[in-house]
Assembly symmetry: C2
Homo-oligomer: 328 residues x 2
């Protein structure tokens, strides 16, 4: 997600995203949406998609296509849309791998307003407590991925976890460049990033890495996918049995547009040329290898595959499935 989404203001999200009683609900318990988690077996991995909420991204923040081309792509695709923009999910992913519980990204907490910030509640609904999380891997340090690592009190929300961030990304947010390259009106995101990282740093729980480093939890490989931010990282997770999961973060923001036209950019990409190159590379790799993909801004649960379609791609969402029986 880009920092510009924040310009909409926290209060803008509250009204349309809070679960609330429907007008016709007459039973004692108000109508509620199903809990926002979903379980997927991928080889030996057990992946839990976690819904944080939705934000609205305007059509006008799509770059590299004419408005008419954008409208044509969106026509009859039925993406929920309000005057503020196209509904866009915010997802995080818990991966059980080799006895560890690894969370990739952590949602918005209270950085985007009260309609979001549901990652921890949905983690608990799925039967996992924050104290059971061993590692939190960040794809990048934008607030909708990072704010969730701290609670409302500013303390670590995952008290037993190591927080992992790409070294380039860490230096970008710690140094002067983040402020220099973030528009003045959105510069508060720099402070949000630093405040979220600080308690992990103070506790000796923050670890940076370079793509190719062997230090990440076993079975997890960091793939540099810069552009949206300078150190944006995707994680390729090995489930055995030739099954791999690519948790790709913000490689795609507008799913109806960017699979069909990978050269379309999101206004908030720090470096659009590199973001396009990263997107093209990962789309091609995922389609060719048949990797599972988890996308932070694909419609929840955001799990599925990429299919080559002509010179471009299509998103193939996973089908809702029961869990496989235990293999004993």
């Amino acid at each position: 997600m880009g920092a510009t989404a924040l310009a909409l203001g926290a209060s803008a999200f509250a009204q349309s995203t809070s679960p609330a009683p429907a007008p016709e609900a007459t039973s004692a318990s108000a109508l509620q949406q199903v809990p926002g988690y979903y379980q997927q077996a991928i080889g030996t991995l057990r992946v839990t998609a976690l819904f944080d909420g939705v934000v609205q991204l305007p059509r006008s923040q799509i770059q590299g296509l004419t408005p008419a081309a954008i409208d044509a792509l969106l026509q009859r695709r039925y993406v929920p849309e309000s005057p503020r923009g196209l509904q866009t999910a915010v997802n995080a992913y818990l991966v059980h791998i080799g006895g560890r519980r690894v969370l990739v990204d952590a949602g918005t907490a209270d950085c985007f307003g009260p309609g979001l910030g549901q990652v921890i509640a949905n983690l608990q609904a799925a039967g996992v407590s924050p104290a059971q999380v061993d590692d939190v891997l960040l794809t990048h340090a934008h607030p909708d991925h990072l704010c969730g690592v701290v609670g409302a009190d500013g303390a670590r929300a995952f008290p037993n976890a190591t927080l992992w961030l790409d070294d380039t990304e860490l230096r970008y947010w710690e140094g002067p460049e983040a402020e220099a390259r973030t528009p003045q009106a959105l510069r508060f995101v720099v402070g949000q990033a630093r405040r979220a990282l600080a308690p992990y740093q103070a506790a000796g729980r923050l670890r940076s890495f370079k793509p190719g480093d062997a230090g990440l939890p076993a079975g997890i490989q960091a793939l540099a996918s810069p552009g949206h931010t300078p150190g944006h990282t995707s994680y390729l997770i090995d489930g055995g049995d030739a099954q791999k999961l690519l948790v790709w973060g913000d490689v795609v923001h507008y799913h109806v547009v960017q699979f069909a036209r990978p050269s379309a950019s999101f206004e908030a990409d720090v470096d659009r040329v590199r973001a396009i190159a990263s997107r093209r590379q990962l789309l091609a790799q995922a389609a060719r290898a048949g990797w599972w993909v988890a996308g932070a801004h694909l419609p929840f649960p955001g799990l599925g595959h990429v299919r080559a379609e002509g010179a471009a791609y299509a998103w193939v969402p996973a089908e809702f499935s029961p869990l496989p029986a235990a293999r004993r």
Copy 2:
């Protein structure tokens, strides 16, 4: 669904469809899939999709396409597949309309084995008790739509509901034709249908109707869509604000194949020519009018829209969304 799916035998479903602890689950509570319901607002309607489970439909039961053409359509669409066939959902739908709770279809109960029959449990998970259901509308009288109207004791599972069935469909299953047109090995489905209907008939709670009759609950129109069975019926439900929902039953069984090639049939269709004509007509109407569609065998929750794509169609699944705030 067709009666032929039953040939797989109840026991075949149990192993791969029962939620069960994953090998790596180490917490006290075993890993569980999210409850199988999903809420969707459509105009003033509140629709709850209810997951019954999955069955496996073999590629070989697709008619009207060469095996190579079928394989090409399925390639890289990642439909979960076992040696027994392609994973195919069984869904039912509860619609809150005008103060009534109307259930369209009722799942398999125990007719398809222990991995299915989850409609009532998921209805309860969504906060609705079977006694609160006012009407049960059947799209047709196959066991995966009808068995769920009775409990394991053979009594009405929805004690306060009226059961609605198209007159042609009722006469087909009550008369000699159902037995004559059902292969010997599958003829037990005729008994299943009669046993499910009987307690409602005995209680004066069974009502048949003809398409166009005004007797159905207000806001609901029956559209004849014969072919899969002689009296197969789809329901067009008016949500106001120009929002309509078509609950189309078994118009599509193989979603990857039949949107792209509507002339492909399911072996179990009683009259394939009429089934194709019904499918073409409803696909065209739904795409042109922009109706919401709910499909009994589309990937759960099976809610979305139909989009015209060249001379054929594409399925556009609904995006997971929070419920809208109450409009006061």
